[in-house]
Every structure is written in C-alpha cells, then in structure tokens.
C-alpha cells in the first residue's frame, strides 16, 4: 500500500492536538498495526489500549475518521488511496492520554446492576431456543462504542442519570434469562434512565458484535417499563392486590 498519512491525537486531560505521522503500510494491516508501528518506530510513548488484536476483547475502541470503531478490526485497505486517516480517542469519555480514555463510568454502572439471581427451585434444564436471545446479548465485548455514540451520553452529558446502551444489553440478558428471578424494571425507569433513550438506533449501528441493541434489548425493556408503570389496567390491578 505504501506510505499513508495519519493524524493521531496526542494529548492529555489538559489538552492536545492531532499529530501527523507518515507510515509504511503493508498488505493486510489494520489501524491498530499502524498505531503499533508508530509506537515502535516514531513515538514509543503513544498511549493506546489493546489486548487481543482479533476483535474479542473490546479494548482498542477509538474514532477512526470520526467513526467509532475497533482499531484492530479496521483494515487499512478500506480507505481510499492517498486518504488521510485520522485516529482520535472516544469523545464521550474523559481523556487520560492520547487514545486512552477514562471508561470507569461503565464499571460503576455495572456494579449497580443486581446480579443474576436464580429463582428458588428453578429447573436448570432448558432448550437452546430459550437462550438464543440471552446469548446474543452475552456476545458483548464491552468495547463501549455504543456508549461513545449514544447522544444521551455524548452530547447531553447524562452520565449518572443514564446507564447507556451497553447496560441495557446487560440488563436484558439478565431479565430474559429463563430462570432469573430478580426484578430490575424499577431501576430501569429510575436510576438507569431508560426513558432518555429515544430509539435513534445509533448504538446498534456501531456495535462490532452486531447485537441488535435497540430492537432486541431496549425496546422490549421499554415495553416492560410501560407495562409496569403506564398500563392503566396494570396500575389498577396493583392497587387492588398491592403487588
């Protein structure tokens, strides 16, 4: 492929800028390879996260030419000949250094989700089709690209009020587990702020695991909230029964 012109963000919480690098690119390289090459030959202190280089760990998230992507799964030959390739950190999260951001918010939200709680005396046998949907959600590699994309977090700064698509996927995986007995619907409506989501589907578009975040997780969860809190019959029923 020859020489490629790269612009890579360099900086920390105090500020920074895109820096120019010219890199020799060989056949088959992905963006992460180019970043590694810059580290090895030009700037050994360029910070970025990665682990697997195979799209399995969700560490190498960044914005490549403005699009939220896994660097290890973005081939260099998907860019035009002569095109400048810009690599910047995820914008939604506070910057630590260069391409590494502070994603601790996600770990805090996760802690607040009540864990898997099997029903008493549950039958531990079930069919594949009973768990196909749950397994779709459990494919999540926690790349947080959906969190990065979602405008509720990105533009409206609702951290602390809105869990974000990744965690709706997580909650859905628990709520739809055949024998889970915990009830997370009140949390969804309250603390996790599911109501802020206006189903733009941007999260689904960037998910590298092709999880149908909106259609399969968020919408069914919203239905559960509506059924619980806004269905007049249900409200009447719960007033009568006290449940």
């Amino acid at each position: 492929m020859g020489k490629v012109h790269m612009k890579v963000y360099r900086g920390n919480s105090e500020g920074g800028e895109l820096k120019d690098y010219n890199v020799d690119v060989e056949e088959g390289m992905v963006v992460l390879d180019v970043i590694h090459k810059i580290q090895a030959t030009q700037s050994s202190d360029l910070a970025c996260r990665w682990n697997c280089k195979a799209g399995k760990c969700g560490s190498c998230s960044a914005e490549v030419n403005g699009k939220p992507r896994l660097m290890c799964m973005t081939r260099m030959n998907t860019f035009q000949e002569g095109e400048t390739v810009t690599v910047a950190p995820m914008k939604t999260f506070p910057l630590l250094k260069d391409l590494a951001t502070d994603v601790s918010y996600n770990y805090e939200v996760n802690k607040k989700i009540p864990p898997f709680t099997p029903k008493e005396g549950a039958d531990w046998h079930w069919e594949q089709e009973d768990v196909d949907r749950v397994q779709e959600f459990r494919k999540c590699i926690e790349c947080f690209l959906c969190q990065d994309t979602c405008h509720v977090l990105r533009d409206h700064d609702k951290m602390g009020k809105f869990a974000g698509p990744r965690f709706f996927v997580r909650i859905a995986s628990l709520e739809m587990h055949p024998i889970d007995g915990e009830d997370r619907v009140p949390l969804l409506k309250g603390e996790h702020g599911l109501g802020y989501c206006n189903i733009t589907k941007c999260c689904t578009e960037v998910c590298p695991e092709d999880i149908h975040i909106t259609d399969n997780a968020i919408i069914p969860l919203k239905e559960r909230v509506v059924d619980r809190y806004y269905d007049p019959l249900r409200i009447l029923w719960s007033k009568i029964t006290g449940k």
Binding site: E27, G28, D33, D45, A47, S59, K111, F116
Partner: protein, 624 residues
C-alpha cells in the same frame, strides 16, 4: 519515599484477573478474607477472553460413557505422562462441578438437542469423548464475564491497569507486591499475608504467537526472582492452526473447533495427510482411512448420531496438538506447503455455508474481516503458532502453594497439570478448578498469620529507582527494538524444533539482549507510556526466555511440545524426570527432579478398565 507511593493492605492479594485470578479472588473473599485483585488491563479484558472452543469436563451429557477416569487418562496420554498425575486427577474430578457452578453464576452454555436441555459438549483433540462445554466459539468471554460479574458483587477490591513489578518478602515468607499504575506511572505497594500469582502465559516472547499483549511471562519471573522454582519450562505448545496470511495476522488463532466441526487438513497436492502421522499412542483410536473418517463425520457431525452406536473411529485431525503440529511442520518442510508457507484447513467443502456461520461465527468473521477470505467458500491457509505454556511455577497439587511460603500460583503460570502437551479445553477448566483451590488455600494460610508482614522501605526505594531507570539512561535504544529481536532469537533458537547448537546460540544471544536492556531508554514521562511498560516487561520476558532455553537444553529427548531434532523419541532416563529452574546467587540453576508417578493401584484400576494400555505406558516411558 513513603509519601510517594500508595499503599494497600490485604489478607490475600491476587495478581492477575483472568479466569484463574478471578476464580481465586472469589474464593478467598468468600472465605472471609480481605481480598485485592490487580491486573494490567481493564477488568474483563484478560487473555482468557480470547478462549474460543470450550471448557473440558466429563459432564457426560452427550456421551454417557465419559467419566473422570477417562478424562484423567486422556490428559495423561495427551501430556505424554509428563504431567503431575495428582493435578490431573483433581482436575478431572472437580471440573464438572466447576462448570455447573459457572452456570449457577449466570453463564449460558449451548444446550443439547436431545430434548433434555443439558449443557452441550463438543469434540476436541485428544479427548476420547465429546467433552467441551461451550458457547459458540466465544467460551472464554462467557467465562470471564460470568466471573467478573460474580466478582464485582463479592466485595473484592479491584485495581485495574496496575502492573506488579516485584514480589516483596519478609524473610522467607511472602509479604506483598510492588508495582505501578499504568495510567499515572505512580508506584504502589500491596501488603498481603498471602499472594496468588495468576498472570497467564508467555506467548509474546515468540514472533508468531496467538497471545494477548499481556502474555509477557510476568508471574514466572516474579516468582523466580522471589525464590520460587519453575518446572517444565521446555514444554511449550505450538498450536497447529494459526492464521498465516496476510503478515499482520500471522499467528492469530483458528479454533480447534473448526476441526471438531468437520474441518480437514490438506497439503498443496490436496492430500489429507494426517493419516500418515498417527503415532503409536493413538493407533487403534483414530480412523486410518479417509472412508472411515468420512463415515464418522457423516454420522456424528452431520447427522448428529450418538457416537456410542457408531463403529467408525474419529478422524486423525482430532489427535492432540503436539501430534498435529509436528505433522504440519513435516509437510511444510518437505515442500508440500501452500502459497504462504502453511497448509490448508478446509471446512468449506465439508459443511454448508449456513452451518459454518452458525457453528463458527467468529472464525467466519475473523477471516472475512482480516484476510478477505470467505471460509464458507475456500480453505484457510494455516501454520503453527506459539500458544500455551505448560510449564510454570511449581506448586503443591493439593494447595497450589509454591516453595515460597505464602506464595500461590494458578492458571497458565503454574506447572504440572498438562505435562508436555495440553489438551484443548483443559485450560479453562484448569483455571476454575485450581483457581478455586488456590483461593481457598491462600485464605487458609492468611488466616494463620497473625500480623501483616513487614516491608523494608529501602527495598521499595531501590525498586522504584530500578523502574525509573529507562528514563535516566539517556539516548539509548527503544524497548520495541529489543522486543523484536528477542522474538526472532526465540523463534530461531528455541522454537518448535530445538537442537543443542541452536539452543547454545540462543542462550548467547539472550546474554546480548540482557546487556542491551540495561541501557534501554524511554521517552516522555511515566504517564501511560507503552514504550516504558515494554522496557519493564522485557526483564520478565528475558527471564522466561532463558528458562525455556536452559530447560530445553537439559531435556535430551522429544516429548509433546518439546521436540529435539538431535534427540528424537522418548527416553527412559527423562521419562520420569521433570526439569526445574531456580535462582542460585543470581544465576539460573537447572535441576532434574523425580516426577511423581501414577500410584500403582490407580494405574492397575485404569488398565483393568481398559482405559490405559500397558504397551502405551511403556512406550511413553521409553521402555518399549
């Protein structure tokens, strides 16, 4: 310097948050110990996340003939009797409970299709029966996420992106660990009554490898430098099926599941060559003609018949990894390799595109995205890749404690379980079985200690100074150059095939690299600085590399993952020995030690049950 570093006190400190570390921390915390967990990456990103094919346990949900005894025999034969038999036994007996426990904690395994709704299991190399519980081809992700979610609700303190640089001792006993936060570069001390090392593998010392960046052998070196003994360091698994083209993906793993689902190996003439390479230990167990192998495939894989009623034997592509990797190497060396120096793995002509996408989704993805290859249409080109370290810290099988009081090890960085060759799926089960044991015993040990051990301030300042050295070395070499050279030195000198002369050269080259590392320099400052991190990791990698080369030189025979071109075949002398490496006055000492043998009673029981064959035992013991 006490105000310059942070300090935390624990009963039990766990270093490493892969499957083994997480399981250990959960157990220690459940035992009522104040538990800290440290890892180099973010939580949930450890190398375990990459595991694909499954977790081995004799659940017998698909083949009722399976038993812990059979799992035990498969492990011992797979390891060519180089294993510590007791670890293999504990593992085989406890793995089913550990898998069911994962399910109780929320793991969602694939189910059987017989209407009974059990955990489904699949075939993998060297396992007599279907035995690997799995979740498509992302079992490691399921394991780590399950343990992670269990862990964060267990009251464990997690310190992410924190690297341990040195273990700390109080006299003979372990006292804690010292390291730095990757983000800030700030030093940190963890004082602890007991420490569990579960830092994973060593793959990064080779150029072609399937491992994550974290696999720099830290635990091996931390233990060694603190006086712990290493065992079996010559036993490295080269996995037969790594990607080999384009260059940037070289070494990335292709799961054995491809062969489990019917994939076959072919050379450049289109021959299915594995029939030529069935070693005596597997004769009679695998199909020796293509017709037989195809009939088995049709009945068992395509039609899903119960294997118990099928008279044909499994295809030889499903033999253990050491055997398959050597066969591949021979084909390539003798000129029957493919365009890019590999051989072919063909699933396209065996299964429908729909089946392939359903059964092997991430393989389909991986090739499509990284190599522009559609595996439902054409064969994959593959070559061996450094994958797994069988050797590691020598531990007591019952407690997982090393020879350093209070220092425990579990997972890939401990030795004994897999002998000279690990069977696929036996690692994930190893992590949860021995992770639990390590957690339990480290907790018990901690409870016996009255006070927190003492730490010598002077030692900490010295360590911090040592860590800072790359910034003070002036205009030296960058760490990445030394790393690249190390990887080449190991490929050439102590790779898949070894020889006295090459090993000597390798050891010499390593001395040269050590001298260069003394002068390595890092630019910038201590904040999130990968060049500096690599410089510090290199100390560990060089310790491991030297241990590998020395142990490989000592074992003058070929066994499993250790192949000597100058000493082919099993030797009687070495069959019952294990090679230890330990520190003696700053130099590596190589020691041969007796390897504990299967007790006569157990051996007789297994022979009488036709699970072990005396002639195979003889052969592996170099007596035939």
């Amino acid at each position: 310097m006490s105000d310059n570093y942070q300090s935390f006190d624990y009963d039990v400190l766990v270093i490493g948050a892969g499957g083994a570390g997480l399981r250990a921390a959960i157990e220690a915390s459940a035992a009522g110990c104040k538990t800290g967990l440290v890892c180099k990456s973010l939580l949930g990103k450890a190398h375990t996340v990459m595991a694909e094919g499954g977790i081995a346990a004799a659940l017998a949900t698909v083949d009722s003939r399976d038993s812990w005894q059979q799992h035990f025999c498969d492990g011992m034969i797979g390891g060519n009797l180089g294993n510590h038999w007791r670890m293999v036994q504990i593992h085989a007996q406890q793995a089913p409970d550990r898998v069911r426990e994962l399910e109780k904690w929320g793991a969602v395994f694939d189910r059987t299709s017989d209407g009974k709704g059990n955990i489904n299991v699949r075939h993998f190399g060297g396992h007599t029966y279907k035995r690997l519980a799995h979740v498509g081809d992302r079992t490691g992700l399921e394991l780590i996420r399950t343990l992670q979610d269990k862990g964060v609700h267990s009251g464990i303190d997690v310190h992410m992106e924190c690297t341990i640089y040195s273990l700390i001792k109080d006299g003979e006993k372990i006292a804690g660990a010292f390291g730095y936060f990757r983000e800030s570069g700030r030093p940190v001390l963890f004082r602890a009554k007991s420490v569990i090392v579960s830092t994973g593998g060593i793959g990064k010392i080779y150029f072609v490898n399937s491992n994550s960046w974290e696999c720099t052998g830290d635990g091996f070196a931390l233990g060694y430098l603190a006086g712990a003994e290493l065992a079996d360091m010559e036993y490295i698994q080269f996995h037969p099926t790594g990607m080999c083209w384009p260059p940037s993906v070289r070494g990335i793993l292709i799961t054995e599941g491809v062969r489990g689902e019917g994939g076959v190996l072919k050379n450049n003439k289109g021959e299915r060559f594995m029939f030529k390479y069935i070693p005596p230990k597997y004769q009679g167990k695998y199909a020796d003609t293509e017709e037989e192998a195809n009939a088995w495939f049709q009945k068992v894989v395509v039609e899903g018949q119960k294997e118990e009623g099928v008279k044909e034997r499994k295809p030889p592509e499903l033999m253990s990894r050491d055997v398959v990797a050597r066969a591949l190497w021979t084909e390539i060396k003798e000129g029957r390799g493919g365009e890019h120096g590999g051989v072919y793995l063909d699933i396209a002509s065996r299964r429908t595109p729909e089946d392939i996408k359903k059964k092997l989704p991430s393989m389909y993805h991986q090739f499509k995205q990284l190599a522009d290859v559609d595996i439902t249409k054409v064969p994959m080109e593959i070559a061996p890749t450094c994958h797994y370290m069988m050797g590691g810290l020598k531990v007591d099988p019952e407690t997982q404690m090393s020879n350093v009081p209070g220092l425990f090890a579990a997972g890939e960085c401990s030795a004994g379980m897999h002998g000279s060759n690990r069977l696929g799926g036996n690692s994930l089960s190893d992590l949860v079985v021995f992770g639990k044991l390590a957690g339990e015993n480290a907790a018990a040990y901690a409870k016996k200690q009255k006070d927190l051990p003492k730490v010598n301030e002077g030692q900490l300042s010295a360590l911090n100074k040592e860590m800072n050295k790359p910034f003070e070395n002036g205009q030296g070499e960058v760490s990445y150059k030394i790393l690249a050279d190390l990887q080449q030195v190991m490929e050439k000198g102590a790779g898949m095939y070894r020889e006295e002369g090459l090993l000597d050269q390798c050891l010499k080259d390593l001395e040269g690299l050590k001298a260069r590392l003394e002068k390595v320099s890092a630019e910038g400052n201590r904040m999130f600085n990968p060049g500096w991190h690599v410089a510090l990791d290199l100390r560990n990698m060089l310790v491991v590399a030297e241990a590998v080369a020395r142990a490989a030189k000592e074992r003058k025979e070929s066994r499993g993952g250790h192949t000597r071109t100058d000493f082919t075949g099993y030797s009687k002398e070495f069959a019952k020995k294990r090679i230890l490496i330990r520190d003696k006055g700053g130099k590596m000492e190589v020691v041969r030690e007796d390897l504990p043998q299967i007790p006569a009673e157990l051996e007789k029981e297994l022979v009488d049950a036709h699970l072990l064959k005396p002639e195979i035992l003889k052969q592996l013991r170099g007596e035939a």
